[in-house]
Amino acid sequence: MADSKKVAEVLRKIAQAVEQEKDALTALDRAIGDGDHGINLARGFGAVAARLDEAANASVGAILKMAGMTLVSTVGGASGPLYGTAFLKAGAAVGEKTEMDSNDFIRAFDAAIAGIAMRGKAQQGEKTMLDALIPALNALREDPDFANGLRRAVKAAEAGVEYTKTILATKGRASYLGNRSIGHADPGAASSLLILQVIAQEVLG
């Protein structure tokens, strides 16, 4: 499915997409947070992209771990530890392989979600990135065809972002707004969807 080179390429594409969508993500965060989500993520994934050349010959696990450590040390806020932990756990799940297959991907995705839930002490339905990611993983698992599953995962994540508009935030800074958080999409769910869209685009070609 993807060798180390491909994984590095996907991370580069994620950095480009986050940079492009920086203002849109920040605007979402301004509505119910503190208006820095896009700025912080763009800084973090930009730093990841800058370190990919050093990691050119590394295993998939090592590249994902490097991405996780870089995000932890450059993003800050809540999204730094959350996305950082996600990539660290994904890297640990794939390990020293230099080529990941679809089963590796599903295991890595599962570990990333478990990492986010552990670090954020969150579950589905609290208006967080998990509301995009968990339905996406479920959709991916349900489809015997990986490519189809990945398409359905993106759709499920899109629906998840829409769903976050309808619910009350009970985690993170948006929870301070009470009912005022309803009607706005969760910025973390939106950035999770964006990352998943890039992965699907790159893997499906």
Binding site: R30, D34, G35, S73, G76, A78, P81, Y176
Partner: protein
């Protein structure tokens, strides 16, 4: 956006370097990042570390000094510092007596300080933490991440700092820090927003005749919006909200009228005038009053009121000598 800055991405570093250059005998910046530590060598006492996003100056770097913090870690504006920087701060100040982290209750701060403590524990450093949550604007319920830590946090720096300076063991320092947290409450409001340099646009928009009530310290919107009222009415409204949570009647308190950064002292003293009368009417005895900019939100115009219930132990620690750029006793 109109600000006295150079490149937005350099604001935090240039601010920290400028702070350290203003107090070279007191402060030192670590080479690895925006971490301020005490300039003099380590003492064999419990070490205190705090931190948070930048934009709250003089918090937290201005509270590093004798009898207060040993280190303050500054993240990007309104963004929690990262675990690696907090870890470097812990390593720079750690003693045999242990380290206490003073963390404000925000999801990001909690997670980043927690990861840093995990790293320090691997080095055999004993790290404990207290979490400040003095903001009564936010309901503490199952449906929120709990109350925010705001201006009342500086009382924790002062009182836990005094206990550590006096040689109290980690258990005791943690206990008095928690005692302050249990007895301090804050409520804030704003009449104009602030602009994060890297964002370039204000955190929210307010009409000329509107005010935002229940504001936090990160330029985020508050709990609700109302028509602007005379200052006395606003003081009464904020104080009532605090007293509904803890009735301080019959208690002795420390009072903090904290400016959000863009409010002149003229207005802060005017607000304090009403506040003192109101507290007297309610049978609340004021032991100490502080008026000024202690925990700001860049250039936001607004203020918060904090009340801290005191007993003999807290009074003595509050009065103990300290020497930090933003608090000298």
């Amino acid at each position: 956006m109109k600000k006295l800055i150079n490149q937005p991405e350099n604001v935090e570093r240039e601010m920290i370097e400028g702070l350290v250059k203003a107090y070279p005998h007191m402060l030192r910046k670590l080479d690895c990042g925006n971490v301020v530590v005490r300039a003099e060598k380590k003492e064999s006492k419990v070490a205190l570390i705090s931190g948070g996003g930048s934009g709250h100056e003089p918090a937290h770097g201005g509270f590093v000094g004798t009898g207060m913090l040993d280190a303050a870690v500054a993240g990007a504006v309104f963004t929690s510092p990262t675990p690696d920087m907090i870890y470097e701060g812990i390593r720079a100040i750690a003693t045999e007596a242990g380290v206490l982290m003073v963390v404000k209750n925000y999801t990001g701060d909690i997670m980043n300080f927690e990861m840093a403590a995990e790293l320090a524990a691997m080095d055999g450093i004993e790290v404990r933490s207290v979490v400040t949550n003095d903001d009564v604007a936010v309901e503490d319920s199952l449906y929120t991440t709990g109350r925010r830590g705001v201006a009342g946090t500086i009382f924790v720096h002062k009182i836990a700092g005094a206990a550590a300076q006096a040689g109290a063991p980690l258990d005791q320092v943690q206990r008095v820090a928690q005692k302050v947290i249990d007895n301090v409450r804050t409520m804030g409001m704003a009449i104009s927003p602030c602009t994060v340099p890297a964002a370039g646009t204000p955190g929210f928009d307010l009409a000329d005749d509107e005010m935002e009530i229940g504001i936090g310290i990160h330029g985020e919107p508050g709990t609700h919006r109302e028509k602007l009222a005379p200052a006395d009415q606003i003081v009464t409204m904020l104080t009532e909200k605090i007293l509904a949570d803890i009735d301080y009647a019959g208690s002795e308190v420390a009072v903090l009228v904290n400016g959000a950064g863009g409010t002149p002292l003229m207005e802060l003293f005017l607000l304090n005038n009403k506040l003192q009368d109101l507290l007297a009417e309610r049978g609340i005895q004021v032991y100490k009053t502080m008026v000024g900019n202690y925990m700001t939100s860049i250039e936001m115009a607004g203020f918060s009121i904090s009340l801290l219930r005191l007993d003999d132990e807290l009074k003595q620690l509050l009065d103990a000598p300290c020497n930090a750029p933003a608090w000298k006793n």
